[in-house]
Symmetry: C2
Subunit: 600 residues, 2 copies
């Protein structure tokens, strides 16, 4: 086969790869993996490189995503350009910097009780004799002292051998009342895995079931190459891609488990239990259950309840006798991840009015008022994740993540303190708040020159009309009218959802005692800005808490404490789901909250 | 490959087969299957044929089993003689006649209630809309009206598709509260399979779960080629043969299921439930669980309880979503087959003292006295099955199965009314009873000339001392001293067991209201002879009932009526198992009942 030489700068790596593969694949073969949001599908623009040599013609994706000038200079998308001869490749620092940060940790509001579903019981059995001829299994049960069941034939097959090899001193592994394994007593800990399957990222936690978290690993969801959001994934699955999507997420999870095992020196067979959260579509895809009817009105999932399966049925590579517990979902668009948030924030507990928000492409929100729980979901669009914003990006190195005014001066923070390459959701939120404060926006969201001419060059006329310019570390990132409109759509969708939930409970926003903000965006945003732009109602900032990856925390809770599974099931049944798409009042509120409230 | 011509007489079939296979295999390739007790292991002598041509040398098995004169005439065992050239084969009528009759039917003492564990529920679901967004599974559950579970992922995967293909009119298949399948409503009946795995024979019943028995199929247990009795099978399994024995019985059961399906025009996927009985070792082997410790003191099985598995785990070829229920065992030597007998005879019910006996190589017996149940097992040896008896055979065509004296004349019945080729258990029992009646036996069991010289030539001096000769249809079958001794050992083992059970309950034999005789031997024996030789206590004949394959009947009951499973489990826990091997009083009684009670 014909081989082509790739030379990579500034690494100085050189090697040969076959023809007709993408530069992205070629780089990977030489050991350089550019992890991108879209997984190589060509829509995120994160794998931009500069090349000299022979590659395929410029694709339409590249035309859309790369400015003309850069195209002329030889910039290409590594996932689009096909190797057709020897190529020298320069990887610009921004491209490497995109390396996605994934939010894995959550705030622990209340420590988990250690009461796992899988437990070991060390047993010393009386040796059988002619006066005591109880069968092995019945002997075991009598010592354990409660009725046990066996539904895995391999466990039954092991019993007589293991008992006698260990002179009737063994360790029984029980899942609730089911005997799922029997092994020699060698003080090996039992492990469990908590999985948070996001549309964009996957986080896998390794826990010692008697102690708590040991380690965490995460990666981009490889399904992204088949679509950025749940709707496009559902479409793909309905067109024959279900098995592929299932296999993609499964093998990624298995890889992460493998990584966690080797990093911590444990065997996959020491893992006996898994809990899984994710949005309803991700859960369907993980199980290989067709999610098709979630995408079309009236948006019906195949199931919402919690589920328990033998891990072996799912193809998860842990102990084949282990179990896999899927936390309950609430509706087609409020999933087990939201239940995870409810668990880890203990939203269901106590008195008062509490609101939990998990904002991504969809915004899921739950309002709790005494015994009542209401949930809804709104399609906020991807603006908060940096998509559809001219210089938008995820919260990674090089992103402007915070902007504020202090003593009349604009402070801009860039992740990694380098020259900015874009702006992420929290930065955009801050920027808009600053624009309001400076009088650069009117209440309809139109950009205008600031009246007091204060710091005049903040606003300039760009290609697409007026733009607000953020300058930092020798670089600048402009925000134009279209970007402001995208944010207006996103924030009013979320805010209108909150208002509908308040209406359902007959509450005023001022009754809300606590707001929990979950997820990456919720963690990094400035609550003050969120209130200022009207994403959140005008509450005292002291009532607003960021709780990090609260969904993942919920999965961990359900792993460490089986009672949390009962809680999740009870809570999920108590939640009233409000379908917004059919409500006129939602449309009205959506229009209303598009505006900003400008204090004059 | 070199081929050799086989010509088969009197069939006139001719064909070519490869060299170095046995004649038995060669015959099978030409479409003639000689089904034998030992499955071709060489110990039953049932495949005797007369050959002319080139075959391997005479084996030691053949020397033991074929009289010298016949060996000289060219008789060989088809399973031992290896084809080494062209051969003409004559299959004598006896060889074909051995074709084993298997007792499949039992006496129905009380009709089964139709209340199967697997049921269908025809459901017309309300069509989802924006006001009713319940998930598919939850919608189904609400209509069914009780909590249902799903543990098979394939069922979950089917739900959204099947519902919409059938416009939300479907049939749910439920195993108790578990949703095990969902299918279109087309009035297909649900079927179940009841299996009785004997050491020697396998019986498989096909039942319509809403009506009852449809058909039955049976065959020899192919494990026989690895040993005639449970002990030799356990030995074989302990030496690495466990998987092979499991596969042998499993594939035979699958063949019988296939036969039943094709004969009745049903699909294996229409079968959703299986119940299984068998002795404890057969159940272990069927499940692939090591039975090793049943064979050695203190005789401990891996389990005795009832078990429920997904059929797919076992490799049973029915609907992969179906279930398999194993009836409970009582001890290493009193198995689920005995529980089957207890169920079908309703032994556990009502007042009074009742005894159930299942006599084969082992004799299992249960005595019921009010609320108390006692069970034991004795190694009777294979005499009642015709083995170890000079002319012994199973109850098949050509076997003397009944002998009696009527008006001073001896009547002999031969199965098939042909010239006798041997004697089966019931015939032997009768013959010994006649010998007692005629004064040919003394109370120690010694054969002597009858005093009154009545029908003088009934007793003659043979090669092995005196023998009693049964003449019928132009043939004769002698019974010698060794045969009588074999029977004495067998009958005293059973009788001593009965006496121990009576002792446990503090009862006299006269307190026994009813005796149930189960199994082939129990079905065909003459109760009067059984009492006369002392196998049974001297009870009025009217209290003794033959109940046929009561074990299989029990499996059918548990299939048709799930409450019978609860009953089986409750009863099995109530039964006190008496281990005879450690009891001195059993040894004493065993000696005592070796004698006959001769009325002088």
């Amino acid at each position: 086969m014909e081989k082509n030489r790739l030379r990579i700068y500034p690494d100085g790596i050189e090697g040969f790869v076959e023809k007709d593969i993408t530069i992205l694949e070629g780089l990977e073969k030489l050991g350089i993996k550019l992890e991108t949001l879209c997984g190589g599908a060509g829509w995120c623009g994160q794998c931009i490189v500069k090349i000299t040599g022979t590659a395929s013609d410029i694709s339409s994706n590249e035309k859309n995503l790369i400015p003309d000038q850069m195209l002329k200079e030889g910039y290409r998308l590594a996932c689009q350009a096909i190797i057709k001869g020897n190529i020298d490749i320069e990887i610009p620092p921004q491209t490497r910097l995109y390396a996605n940060q994934i939010l894995t940790s959550g705030i622990v509001l209340e420590k988990a009780k250690i009461n796992p579903a899988v437990k070991t019981s060390r047993i010393s059995l009386p040796i059988p004799n002619l006066e005591d001829q109880r069968a092995d299994l019945e002997r075991l049960e009598d010592i354990i002292g409660s009725k046990i069941s066996v539904s895995n034939l391999d466990v039954l097959r092991k019993i007589p051998i293991i008992l006698r090899e260990n002179n009737f001193n063994i360790e029984a592994v029980l899942y609730e009342n089911e005997l799922i394994d029997i092994r020699k007593t060698d003080n090996k800990p039992l492990y469990g895995i908590a999985v948070d399957i996001g549309t964009t990222t996957i986080v896998v936690y390794l826990l010692d079931l008697t102690k708590g978290e040991v380690d965490v690993a995460s990666s981009m969801n490889p399904q992204a190459k088949r679509g950025a959001d749940v709707i496009s994934r559902i479409d793909y699955s309905s067109k024959g891609g279900l098995q592929e999507l299932k296999d993609l997420v499964l093998s990624e999870i298995n890889l992460l488990i493998e990584e966690l095992c080797s990093r911590n020196g444990i065997e996959p067979t020491d893992i006996y239990d898994i809990t899984v959260v994710g949005n309803t579509t991700m859960i369907h895809l993980f199980l290989g259950v067709p999610p098709s009817y979630i995408a079309v009105s009236p948006y019906i999932p195949a199931f919402t309840r919690s589920l328990l399966f033998d891990a072996v049925q799912l193809g998860i590579q842990i102990n084949p006798k282990g179990k896999c517990y899927i936390l309950p979902n609430i509706s087609g668009y409020v999933g087990a991840d939201t239940i995870g948030v409810v668990l880890s924030t203990r939203l269901y507990k106590g008195d008062g009015v509490k609101l939990a928000l998990d904002i991504g492409t969809n915004g899921e929100m739950i309002l709790k008022d005494g015994e009542k729980l209401f949930a809804c979901s709104t399609a906020a669009g991807p603006a908060f994740e940096g998509a559809n914003i001219t210089y938008g990006m995820r919260g990674a190195k090089g992103a402007i993540d915070h902007v504020n005014i202090d003593n009349g001066e604009i402070n801009i923070h860039v992740i990694g303190d380098i020259q900015p390459i874009g702006i992420c959701g929290s930065g955009l939120l801050d920027a808009i708040a600053v624009m309001i404060e400076l009088g650069i926006l009117d209440d309809t969201g139109r950009i205008k020159y600031p009246e007091g001419k204060f710091i005049k060059d903040l606003v300039r006329k760009g290609e697409n009309g007026l733009e607000f310019v953020l300058k930092a570390n020798g670089g600048e990132i402009p925000i134009n009218q279209r970007d402001v409109r995208e944010l207006q759509l996103a924030k009013s969708a979320i805010r209108a959802g909150i208002e509908i939930l308040l209406e359902e409970t007959g509450r005023e926003y001022s009754d809300i005692d606590t707001v929990y903000l979950a997820g990456a965006f919720g963690t990094y945003l400035d609550p003050e800005s969120a209130v200022k732009i009207g994403l959140l109602p005008p509450l005292p900032i002291s009532r607003i808490y960021s709780v990090g990856n609260a969904a993942g925390e919920g999965a961990k809770l359900a792993l460490l404490d089986k009672d949390m599974r009962r809680t999740a099931e009870e809570v999920s049944r108590k939640i009233s789901y409000i379908e917004l798409s059919s409500r006129k009042d939602f449309q009205e509120k959506f229009m209303e909250f598009m505006y900003f409230e400008i204090k004059r």
